[in-house]
């Protein structure tokens, strides 16, 4: 049995890598992240042109009809390049819309997402670290929504927001369009400036029902966990690579600092931790696509482990750089900041470890 990537998947990764190396090197990352929206429409249309935004959009809605694993490979590359923008927001919305199976709403929004013409985001988490579809306080009543969502990715520029909420029958999924009365979006500053969030307040905002039940929401959350794990892996790889290059050139006592055993061992330890972590998120993506009953737990494990690891890699590699690693001019802190978002968004590592234990019946 072959656990490797297909030729097409390797080609996909290479294509995105080359595109981002040219179109989104660190100076461009900084320009975009310092802009008010944290989003660059030109880069976004470029990604759409490569098919990145429609990878897991069904073919009948103008996408490639691929799986989460393919989207996660793209996420790894975006993490590698520290690419700013609403990729995660749109990917969550895509999974939710596909899982909802609402033809009318899917037809309206999925082709636009795939083509880069619309930004659609997903509002799940609530006050008190609440990411469970069954415990949400946001209420749907008579075609309107009322509630608060403090951390919604790129809600400020979103054309539509998918909102996980509850009505008298339990959880469901609704859609609110930009400019709806009773919709208030307040930008929040984030430590990772390459991924923006906003607080969304809904006060009787008109909403369209997209799905009944919690499946679409749970699927979107699990996909998000895998995509964050993949982003963390790509980011951690980049930190390691930058640092290896640095310790080969920076000299102390007449030799590159990479010649010192203390430095070598720290880098070797990180490489040793990263290698097996790759198969962890690959498997979580595969389980999401093909082994439904293992999907939820493996998404939780991958998110917890990979985002923890990214945090550790970012810290150790910053330390190995010494003072320069901590300056604004040097690029490494972009990934250090990115690791903070990956760890916190959709719930931190400890929360998902507890979930994984519960799902295993422990």
């Amino acid at each position: 049995m072959d656990f490797g990537l297909s030729e097409e998947q390797v080609l996909l990764k290479d294509t995105i890598r080359r595109y981002l190396e040219t179109e989104c090197p660190p100076p461009r990352v900084r320009t975009i992240m310092e802009a008010p929206s944290g989003h660059d429409p030109e880069l976004w249309l470029g990604l759409a042109g490569l098919g990145v935004l429609g990878l897991h959009v069904p073919v009948e809605h103008g996408g490639s009809g691929l799986e989460l694993l393919d989207a996660a490979l793209a996420a790894e590359e975006l993490g590698w390049a520290c690419t700013p923008g609403p990729f995660l927001a749109c990917a969550l919305a895509t999974v939710a819309l596909v899982a909802a199976g609402n033809h009318e709403v899917g037809t309206r929004w999925l082709p636009a997402i795939a083509q880069g013409d619309a930004i659609v985001t997903f509002a799940l988490g609530e006050e008190g670290d609440e990411w469970d579809a069954g415990r949400l306080a946001t209420r749907a009543r008579g075609g309107t929504l009322t509630g608060r969502k403090p951390l919604v990715p790129y809600a400020e520029i979103a054309d539509a927001i998918l909102v996980a909420a509850q009505d008298d029958d339990g959880p469901g999924l609704w859609l609110v369009e930009r400019g709806a009365p009773g919709l208030e979006v307040t930008a929040q500053r984030t430590t990772d400036m390459t991924r923006r969030v906003a607080a969304v307040a809904l006060t009787g905002a008109p909403a369209t029902r997209v799905a009944t039940g919690r499946t679409a929401t749970d699927r979107a959350r699990d996909a998000g966990l895998v995509l964050l794990a993949a982003d963390a892996y790509g980011g951690a790889r980049r930190c390691l690579e930058m640092t290896v290059r640095y310790v080969l050139t920076r000299e102390q006592f007449g030799q590159p600092i990479g010649a010192f055993q203390g430095v070598k061992h720290q880098l070797a330890d990180l490489a040793t931790e990263l290698d097996p972590a790759l198969s962890l998120w690959w498997y979580a993506a595969h389980a999401f696509d093909r082994i439904r009953d293992r999907s939820e737990r493996h998404a939780a494990i991958a998110k917890a482990h990979l985002t923890d690891l990214f945090d550790r890699v970012a810290r150790v590699t910053t330390e190995l750089h010494g003072g320069i690693g901590f300056t604004w001019e040097y690029d490494l802190h972009l990934w250090f900041r990115r690791s903070i978002f990956d760890r916190a968004f959709l719930g931190e590592a400890g929360y998902h470890r507890a979930r994984a234990a519960e799902l295993a019946g422990w």
């Binding site: 988490g125 670290d129 990411w131 403090p150 951390l151 929040q188 500053r189 984030t190 430590t191 990772d192 969030v197 607080a199 006592f253 007449g254 030799q255 010192f260 203390g262 430095v263 720290q266 810290r315 910053t318 330390e319 190995l320 010494g322 003072g323 690693g325 901590f326 250090f336 903070i340 978002f341 760890r343 916190a344 968004f345 959709l346 719930g347 931190e348 590592a349 400890g350 929360y351």
Partner: protein, 78 residues
């Protein structure tokens, strides 16, 4: 030197624990009104890494502790 290494490492660990306790809102920038304690812990987290490096990163401290404190031979130098 032992104090510098142990206290800065402890400082980092405390700030990291605070980030974990903040959960999802740890992603908000220091000073953001909706961050717990006005983002004080986010600031502490970023600073703790800076302090760990300032005045000689951990590896420099380890060398000094091993060589001056424990009397081990110095690294080979060219």
């Amino acid at each position: 030197m032992v104090m510098k290494l142990s206290s800065t490492t402890l400082g980092y660990d405390i700030a990291k624990l605070a980030m974990d306790v903040m959960g999802d809102r740890a992603l908000l920038a220091p000073g953001e009104p909706s961050a717990p304690a006005m983002g004080m812990f986010g600031t502490a987290y970023m600073w703790s890494l800076g302090v760990l490096i300032a005045g000689g990163a951990a590896n420099i401290q380890r060398n000094i502790i091993a060589e001056r404190g424990l009397g081990l031979p110095r690294d080979a130098r060219k």
